[in-house]
Symmetry: D2
Subunit: 356 residues, 4 copies
């Protein structure tokens, strides 16, 4: 920990801070610059109350450098984690995995029909929402348990693993019973009880970053999953808050692709990008899918619907299965091109401040 | 609804949009400007799929003006709501109400001791956390049920109503049993299931705005409380995200006092400001408390601790009870000065675009 | 400076960082925690390249605590600065100063007419724009030099000092010739050449914070004024970016009143708040003016126009002179109430982490 | 224009709005929903004062759909613009163009040496700063005119076009004399006088988006270049503000790649991405360069320095020329792969809400 005094700090204030530190059994190193004095603390910092020092008169700032996540870091799990779900391997050098399907499960027939289409288009995992997080109480909230059963049935009939969102602690068990991967949505990223309850099922979890979370904050919440002995984690970037202002925002969210290489460096877990929710615009899904794969994503979540104009939710961002097939072929080609080049994905981590 | 075509839209694209609207049985009004054509839609807009129109070729934007909250608005409840809790009246012209106490309940003795101090300082309601929302799994998480019991005991012994946060759907019943007001924290503002479960207890709810929610979005979530037949709502501004950047942020959050007069105009419910969490700095609590009252807040939530340097959480923002007493006296004086002036709080609503 | 190694850092990487530091003639203090090793640096940090250390393999972060502004701080100018303009004293314990007038100077007649009205309403300084910063090239850009002459004439005839914005380096001299206070607008806060050219005129400067600047960044740009030997500085908070999202933003900007007590603590210069631009809504000017004064502002900038619906710019936020008079009376009363209370403005600075 | 009344609006308020509109000679279409009444306006909207309507009692919102930029849109210039600089063609289907070099020109020798290296690495244009925009007055500010001469000399000797930033209106002429492309930096995006003065030189301009500008706002400022009869425009995404919060921000800025396909759709001008400034981290330049090209960028600006640890500015983000050569080869390969695929870049514009 370092403590910087204000330029206006008096000698008495400096002495009081130093006294406080020494009386905890630590040593100090004082550097007096032209404008400012900085106190370096030598010894076991746990003996000192950080907040107390910070709020003492004359103190400008007290900084403690600490990695805010530990169990998610490569020191705890050095090697890339591969998450396996019914024969699909996600992460490390595996080809990209595509999780596709409608925003909402609307009927038995609909999820079977679209499930078949996305599988033919190249998708590996079928997505569909049964419990929908909605801003307005007046919007369609999902089919609930009935939707879960339709999804499970489609998954079995089509031999494709499934993913769906768990929105409430109360539903964790039933969602875990019917789906293969449990998704924790962006709005629940700060919901520690839901995270822990979901983690304890032991099932694979796709954990979405909140639109309002810095990357380190996101990882410090993901930490709760590993702390509950579940390492089947898929990290997912799905868009941060757009810039505020008085002009029309071109997108609902801002897909933050910087997060993809950063997450790959900081943690061993697979990283998924969601260009559908990340932009909210169908016409941006193709270019942003290409960019996600090029940035290093291990997979994509893409909303698809064969009748987007009839979808009960998020129709504006859903792709039809033919467009989806083209995107998947394009992304597979890009991934292969990069993997076989002189600078494959693994070379992202050897320059500069990598995970080494 | 209005539909604006792009400057580059072709005649055929315009015709297709017009055809789509007319075939739903509606009329159009086309205004062709120098650069751009706008289609006004005349008739019942519910017959048209907004997203579908918006994603048609040649369309720049389709805008539907809709107030996103209804049950929270003054058209549903025209008159100012007064929330009453064991003899304390909050809202309308009542003097400011102060909700004070420690961040966390740490022991039976601590909550009784501080409870007594804050009551003597002028507080009307005792706050204390039993279930703490924490970023890190490695921090103190609260005493849970035991803490609730200490709080209830302190409330009874000191004859002061209590408020505490409910963090998880699973705990709603027990929190409702022990506390007088249930708080839904900023991180749970988007947690629709928790909101609804809490609303159904019928108890007064202090509903905090998320640090990432626009005001209209906040109110559209609050709507779920009224929809569950609970009108005992206290709205609470507690700080939005600070501006990003590479400089040290002076505050943890940015207390957004613009929200105070806006919430008072848009809705009939009492508005509380929380300068402790809203800034995260003890030394800003006095000036921002004054500013909150001057902006029109019906009450304040202020963290207090007689031994801030020993507090198990948020010590850096807690005030000691003597300072608290001064703030309460100052704020009462300010409130009285404004209420008795030629422009009392009620005159905020007669100029310009008020609630009329 | 402290250097934190990553949890995954190898012994060799640690050794290399230590070697780099020692070879610059400095000493190190190494603390090895359970998860992470931190290197404290002892000695003159200027000998080390901060960026170089930060980008070495195995380094998590390297932090140097430095106050980013010096000449603006109370160590350089300990006592509150009072800026005097033709008999008007701004800052310290002086009563609030009001700078009022139309957004744009529209004609000789208009600025004389409104000037008379705002002076009668209690304003001390007449504002009016001759060079308007506008988003769109298709909007009214101001009368330029002609407007400056109208403003000067109104100021002389009415015996009231004037303030106007200087938008371009090229105009600095002529604006300095005609106006008493030069305003640097929010969009030019990062325009270092304009700041320095304006500073060199020696005239009082009202320097607005950008809607995108953290407070410390703002002060580091203001530093350029003092560095050019001009201490006649009025700091001005006029609203930061609103939160982004898909809901209607209730205000154009978010007036950040947290900045008022922070700026008063960190620097000796007077702090002005601009609730007109800070919110963009006429009906919020009264409550936010009260809140600004209560937060500690030394003065207010308020747009006024007797025919707001005919104003060539910003009509939606301008007040009519009668409303203005009421606001000024209210704010004067509030200021007096606080100044004469047991906790006057000066007591904001004695608790906690103040400038002491 | 549509006007939405508040749910609480009275009949008299509605009548007053309708009267105001009709008295301007326009017609109205009133739709009364369950909660809210909306007035559609039929006729020439220019006859009505938008702000006036918006601020009338009982009005919730008044919305006018207007594309905020015209001359930048594809209706004014339908076909992709190719900007040519001394034999280098930027835009449309041309292979990516790389603008590389040091952040600051430090000496005659340095810019010649690095210029040679980046040209050998595959760069087409040499960048180097002579006038540096800096936050702190205490940092290196650039060599100024002397630097410009070194840059011109290096460009001639190496037969490579040059680009440098013009920071002040006063320097426009001399920068235009010495450099081939003039850059307007992110901090000057709102500086309308600088934009117009630079545009009038007729030279190619690389116009960077501010870190605080929504895309539509950015384009409305770029509009000023075309309005001054200069169509040699390169648009440039270089990072928006990172999310605020109390955690360490992983990057200085957030490179917003969503902007790349959006700018390509909305305007005909070439789009450049700057992953060096956009992230501020050397180790992210490779993955974010790949992602930029995959998103559709026509070129990249990348900082390079053969002795990054000795650079006078921005050393932490500069690449050495060998790494640069690999990135350029990788990006050329990616561009070719996409251009020759079944979904080349041009297919980004045929689905959904494209420019058609």
């Amino acid at each position: 920990m370092s403590v910087a005094m204000k330029p206006s700090a008096t000698r008495a204030q400096l002495d009081e801070v130093v006294h406080k530190i020494k009386s905890a059994g630590l040593k100090v190193d004082i550097s007096s610059g032209e404008f400012q004095t900085v106190i370096g603390i030598i010894g076991d910092e746990k003996r000192i109350d950080f907040d107390q020092i910070r709020s003492m008169p004359g103190v400008y700032d007290a900084i403690r450098i600490q990695v805010p996540f530990r169990l998610m870091s490569r020191s705890y799990i050095p090697k890339d984690v591969v998450v396996k779900v019914h024969g699909v391997s996600i992460g490390r050098d595996n080809p990209p995995v595509y999780m596709c399907g409608p925003c909402s499960i609307e009927s038995y027939e609909q999820i079977h029909r679209i499930g078949k289409q996305v599988k033919e288009a190249g998708a590996h995992i079928l997505r569909g929402g049964a419990y929908k997080p909605r801003t307005s109480i007046h919007s369609f909230q999902g089919l609930g348990l009935e939707g879960l059963k339709h999804l499970q049935s489609a998954g079995k009939d089509l031999d494709i693993p499934t993913i769906t969102e768990v929105r409430s602690e109360v539903d964790v068990e039933s969602v875990a019973k019917y789906a293969d991967i449990l998704q924790i949505g962006a709005r629940n990223m700060f919901n520690q009880d839901l995270i822990e309850a979901t983690a304890r099922t032991g099932k694979p979890i796709l954990f979405k970053r909140s639109f309002a979370a810095q990357i380190d904050e996101y990882l410090s919440f993901a930490e709760r999953i590993v702390a509950n002995h579940n390492k089947n984690i898929l990290l997912c970037e799905r868009g941060i808050m757009p810039l505020g202002g008085t002009f029309k925002s071109q997108t609902r969210f801002t897909l933050d692709l910087n997060a993809v290489p950063i997450l790959r460096k900081e943690t061993p877990f697979p990283v998924i990008a969601d260009p559908s929710h990340g932009t909210g615009r169908r016409d941006l899904v193709l270019p942003m899918s290409r960019a996600s794969i090029a940035a290093g994503a291990h997979g994509l979540m893409i909303e698809a619907h064969d009748r987007p104009h009839e979808a009960l939710s998020d129709g504006a961002q859903a792709l039809d299965p033919k467009e989806l097939a083209k995107i998947i072929r394009m992304c597979n080609l890009l991934h292969k091109t990069i993997r076989e080049s002189e600078t494959p994905f693994s070379s992202d981590f050897v320059n500069g401040n990598g995970h080494d």
